[in-house]
């Protein structure tokens, strides 16, 4: 993953998957996200970087309306997914979340078997007509998450019994099982060791073939390694958004430069 490849990726022009315009988020009286405009492309990994508390996770959670579950949270502005406003009154967040899957910071498998963990989403969304189809979805999802070979003999074992890296890949398998179009990842590797991190990163790179992936990360190396587009957030503002290679080599904003060189954050 050298600079050469990054520039190479950058030249591909893709369809815009999610279009965010003038997004504002308030936690009670606290103005957490201010006027954020981002275009997230299809079949691209977009990384959100920035210091803690800058609002990158909050913004990520706006993209599948997970912020709805927080009572005091209020979102303004437009977030358009394939031409449809996801904050429209007619949109059911349940349907939205089937399209926009999410992987969390801490691996959070259900305290059920590995099979049930992956099968849960397809079951509640009615993606399979019978057991055979469900088995197929589970297998393909686990294969996608590069976990199949490790767990195929113990699908009935509890998901919580796996190692941290395996658990996180299980969560990714669970997220891809509902065939989403966008995959949101909130610091997916922060609880993992370097080997597991490498596996997950490799996985993200593969997932890019089928999905639009948005990843929040604290590690700038990780952002540089896996993403094609990078957005830098600071104090609730989107400071800079562009090609990853450009952000890391030739940032326009002095704040971005300070951050990636380690002077702020």
């Amino acid at each position: 993953m050298n600079d050469m490849r990054m520039t190479e990726r950058g030249v591909n022009t893709k369809d815009i998957k999610i279009e965010a315009r003038k997004v504002q988020v308030f936690y009670g009286a606290n103005h957490a996200i201010k006027d954020v405009d981002v275009d997230i492309e299809d079949k691209t990994v977009t990384a959100f970087i920035g210091p803690s508390g800058c609002g990158k996770s909050t913004f990520l959670r706006c993209l599948n309306r997970m912020n709805d579950t927080i009572d005091i949270c209020r979102v303004e502005g437009d977030i358009i997914l394939d031409g449809e406003d996801i904050y429209d009154k007619r949109v059911d967040p349940v349907q939205l979340r089937a399209k926009v899957g999410m992987v969390f910071q801490k691996p959070n498998p259900f305290p059920k078997s590995i099979y049930d963990n992956v099968a849960y989403g397809p079951k509640i969304h009615g993606l399979s007509r019978n057991k055979a189809e469900l088995d197929e979805i589970v297998e393909s999802s686990l294969r996608r998450a590069a976990l199949w070979n490790e767990v195929k003999d113990r699908l009935d074992a509890p998901g919580t019994g796996l190692s941290g890296g395996q658990q996180q890949r299980l969560c990714i398998a669970r997220a891809v099982a509902t065939s989403p179009e966008v995959l949101l990842m909130d610091e997916p590797c922060s609880a993992l060791d370097p080997i597991a991190t490498a596996q997950v990163e490799e996985l993200i790179d593969e997932l890019r073939q089928s999905y639009s992936v948005v990843i929040v990360t604290h590690s700038m190396q990780q952002a540089a390694r896996v993403s094609q587009k990078t957005a830098f957030f600071h104090l609730g503002n989107l400071v800079e958004f562009g090609e990853t290679s450009k952000i890391f080599t030739n940032p326009e904003d002095p704040r971005t430069e300070s951050y990636i060189t380690g002077r702020i954050g």
Partner: protein, 579 residues
């Protein structure tokens, strides 16, 4: 740092690790004090718990065993139909059959059994009273009493002889106290002569030697002998055997009000004229004598209503092996009764079980539903805050207040035309207890739901589950152990609750006594409950019931509570999941 060294201040002396500094010593002292306080508190608690358990077990366990006499029960046709001729089953079952026929059957059977065992009933009683009389005489030195009594013939005759001597002594005492010396001398001699005639030659000499002119000194000397009182006591004892009759005999066993015998005869009229061996409970007052609780001398140590002649008979029965101490199985099936011999907790156990069922259904359904709504769906505003505070307050409301509420509902329903039949039913009791248990379950369920990690909620919502799916597929199963524990603790609390049940009529003993079997009846029948039956036992007129059976009932209740709590622990262990 560098400033300090530059200014030439003395560096702090190095402290040794081997000696404790004052501050550390103080900290350790505080820690030790707290530890001792904690140990002390726990010791006090354990001590009182041990005392409590000991007092319950030491009385309750023996009371679970009952002394009973093995009797050859003969269903005597002569008693069942005194007019002679065949016995009509209809007549046996009739309410206005000559009352007390059971007593006749039991008395005759007991007499027959004792005689078959070689016990001379009247003789045993008589001998015991003679011993009593001799003891009285010997105590004051009236030797030779045995011959006197034997010479007199029947105890009644001996009583007359002794009584005459006693009266003569009394007359002598009053004459000696008077001014007339001649009369006093005459009375003294008459008394001495009466003693001599009776056969107490030595005593006669003692009396004759008293100075007739002695006045008060002579009276004192005569009284000091104690002859008069001893003679009268002995005479009284010797009169007793004549009073011994069938009633005194049948009082030893539980023979009255034997509905069971009547029922058995109605059910199977062929029994008339046959004999069967049955264990008949010994009278509950006598059981204290048998268990050795009443030892020693004096009327306070006698079972109330019994005399030593009857107890001699009990001793004889015991020696003959007619009395055994059997487990009181019927305690668990019989209804409550005033008579401790047959009293039981059967309907109370069933009533409590029914009520627990009602509590389980009502409070679990409503409690869990309310908690899920409040925890997951209710908007957070002033109104839901108000509801939450009031649920917490409800948990602290004294149970008798719920009883008043239940009574108010009861009387309203009675006015509305449901009549007296709903008074004290298991359903009503269960509903009142459910109201009481509801806050406990709501609080436990909410705490259990809160304890489910938020990551599970995120995971479910993130994969596209709806709120209801998230709650029912993920949170509720994980909260189930906590909910179960809370429910069982709430139910255990309800099981022991007395006050509200007393107010809605569950302590009425007559109602449950009408139940022919503890397992008849249901939710809409007059019921009893364990705590109210303990209350009834504790109010009983007989000390052995108050101090024995009440503890037995408490013991059963405690065992049930322990079982429930152990169940709660086991369920929690089984269903607890780690994440």
């Amino acid at each position: 740092m560098s400033d300090a060294s530059l200014s030439g201040a003395k560096p702090a002396p190095k402290s040794s690790l081997l000696t404790q500094s004052a501050l550390v010593r103080k900290r350790h002292r505080t820690g030790a004090t707290l530890r001792w306080l904690g140990l002390g508190a726990i010791s006090v608690v354990l001590f009182f718990l041990a005392v409590l358990l000991w007092s319950i077990v030491s009385r309750g366990v023996p009371a679970l065993f009952q002394y009973q006499a093995q009797i050859e029960l003969y269903y005597d046709p002569a008693i069942l139909n005194p007019d002679g001729g065949p016995v009509d089953p209809e007549e046996i079952g009739g309410i206005n059959l000559r009352t007390g026929f059971e007593r006749g059957i039991f008395t005759n059977s007991l007499r027959m059994t004792l005689e078959n065992a070689g016990i001379d009933i009247e003789g045993t009683v008589e001998r015991r009273w003679v011993v009593e009389a001799l003891n009285a005489l010997d105590a004051v030195g009236l030797t030779g009493g045995a011959e006197v009594i034997a010479d007199a013939g029947a105890p009644g005759d001996a009583a007359r002889v002794l009584g005459q001597a006693g009266s003569a002594l009394r007359a002598a005492a009053s004459a000696l106290g008077g001014d007339d010396v001649a009369a006093a001398e005459a009375a003294r001699d008459a008394a001495a002569e009466a003693l001599g005639t009776a056969g107490f030659a030595q005593a006669a000499e003692v009396v004759a030697a008293i100075d007739a002119a002695g006045g008060p000194d002579a009276v004192a000397a005569l009284n000091a002998t104690g002859y008069q009182q001893a003679l009268l006591d002995a005479a009284g004892a010797l009169r007793q055997p004549a009073d011994f009759d069938d009633a005194a005999l049948s009082a030893l066993i539980y023979a009255t009000n034997r509905r069971d015998v009547r029922d058995r005869l109605v059910e199977n009229p062929d029994l008339v004229g046959t004999t069967e061996s049955v264990g008949v409970p010994i009278d509950i007052a006598v059981t204290r004598y048998l268990s050795g609780e009443l030892t020693g001398i004096g009327t306070a140590q006698m079972p109330p209503g019994f005399d030593i002649g009857q107890l001699a008979l009990v001793d004889a029965m015991e020696d003959a092996g007619l009395i055994d101490n059997a487990f009181r199985w019927h305690f668990f099936t019989n209804p409550y009764s005033q008579s401790g011999e047959i009293a039981g907790i059967g309907p109370a156990l069933m009533g409590s079980a029914y009520m627990m069922l009602v509590v389980l259904v009502f409070s679990l359904i409503f409690g869990v539903a309310a908690s899920i709504y409040l925890e997951e769906f209710a908007p957070k505003n002033k109104f839901t805050d108000f509801i939450e505070i009031n649920i917490a307050n409800l948990a602290a409301v004294p149970s008798i207040v719920f009883g008043i509420l239940g009574a108010a509902i009861l009387f309203t329903l009675m006015d509305l035309g449901f009549g007296n039949s709903i008074r004290g039913t298991a359903l009503l009791g269960g509903i009142v207890l459910s109201l009481m248990t509801l806050p406990t379950i709501v609080i436990a369920t909410r705490a259990a739901l809160k304890a489910v990690p938020p990551s599970i909620r995120d995971a479910a919502l993130g994969v596209g589950a709806s709120k209801v799916q998230m709650v029912f597929h993920h949170k509720l199963p994980l909260a189930a152990p906590g909910i179960l524990t809370g429910t069982i603790i709430g139910i255990a609390q309800a099981l022991g609750e007395t006050a509200p049940l007393l107010l809605i009529g569950l302590s009425v003993s007559t109602g449950a006594a009408l139940l022919s079997s503890p397992f008849s009846g249901g939710l809409l029948e007059q019921a009893q409950s364990m705590p109210t039956v303990v209350y009834l036992f504790a109010q009983n007129q007989d000390a052995p019931v108050r101090e024995g059976l009440a503890q037995s009932a408490i013991l059963v209740m405690l065992l049930l509570l322990f079982a429930l709590n152990i169940l709660a622990i086991l369920l929690r262990r089984k269903f607890e999941r780690r994440w």
